[in-house]
Amino acid sequence: MESTIVCLAGIPLQIDFLDSQAKKYFDSYLDLTSKPLARIGLSQEEFKIFRTCYDKKLPDHYVEYCELVSKASTALLPYGRCIFHSTAFLWEDKAYLFTAPSGTGKTTQYLHWKYLYRDKVSILNGDKPILELTPTGEFYIHSSPWKGKEGFGRNTSAPLAGIVFLEQGYKNSIRLLHPQEIVLPFLYQFLIDAQTIEELRMLLRMEEAVLLHIPIWKLTNLGDVASARLCHDTIKQYQTNRSKFL
């Protein structure tokens, strides 16, 4: 069994691979000098179960890479970090997340922003960034090796400034959500393999902290450029108003 050490959101983790070819997906995150704080890997039994959920044409090393995500996320949880299913991008030195169930249009929304705002926005991670809650109550977004099918991402971090929950609809509209409205759907966006009650407690504490301190909008949209403009202008207005009171 081949192993390596990677650094995810500042935490060194040892990964034990069943298929040594899976190691290549983690090349940009190697950290061979640090002592790992946790160790992750799939058992043969787990792999056999997960394998049945994937297309037979996909190679084993790719399946292993995909399934390591929730293992990594759970290992990061005691360190105040968790992988969050979303598209993370940078705008005015802050990170924003588009989140939604798969196939709702997270990447499409980002591409519309890129088309409209060019160099003012850049991708941080296309599918599974790491959300960090620091001991002082600040939130950061870090990239991860899981960048989605488009492979969007670069190994960097930024403070989290807002989250947009996407929903497909017949017209474009956006509104700021009350935390209570989104407790359950938001929980499903944290990618975790909680084996214990204590891990669930840590997760829920993190969820509550995000819901109470980060503005979250619901963007119902047609998947068009106009929805991106509406989203941009709404957030811009919010941040401008907010800065007046700080």
Partner: protein, 96 residues
């Protein structure tokens, strides 16, 4: 009357932003949903059910807690139990 049902071990009930959230650990995913929202009454029933399976005791405690007649609580509680059993959060304790 004692319920022949028990709450699954890997389930956590927590209040998140004022909402009661029932969440399951991975080993329970094949039996029940990962997460569900409960109202305040259901959350109360769940907590008491984790302490005792004695229906009369639960009903009398809930009747005092919510200040409503026992007959009303009994109906409501049994509906709750049926719903939780259907969702898999409760299992027939004699079977596992």
């Amino acid at each position: 009357m004692k319920l022949n049902l028990a709450a699954r071990k890997g389930i956590l009930l927590e209040k998140v932003c004022g909402k009661y959230l029932l969440v399951a650990t991975r080993m329970e995913h094949e039996y029940c949903p990962y997460g569900s929202l409960l109202n305040e009454t259901a959350a109360y029933y769940w907590n008491v059910l984790c302490e005792t399976q004695d229906v009369e005791e639960i009903v009398s405690r809930a009747a005092v807690h919510f200040n409503v007649p026992q007959e009303l609580v009994r109906l409501d509680f049994l509906r709750f139990v049926e719903c939780m059993k259907e969702q898999g959060y409760l299992y027939e304790s004699g079977l596992e």
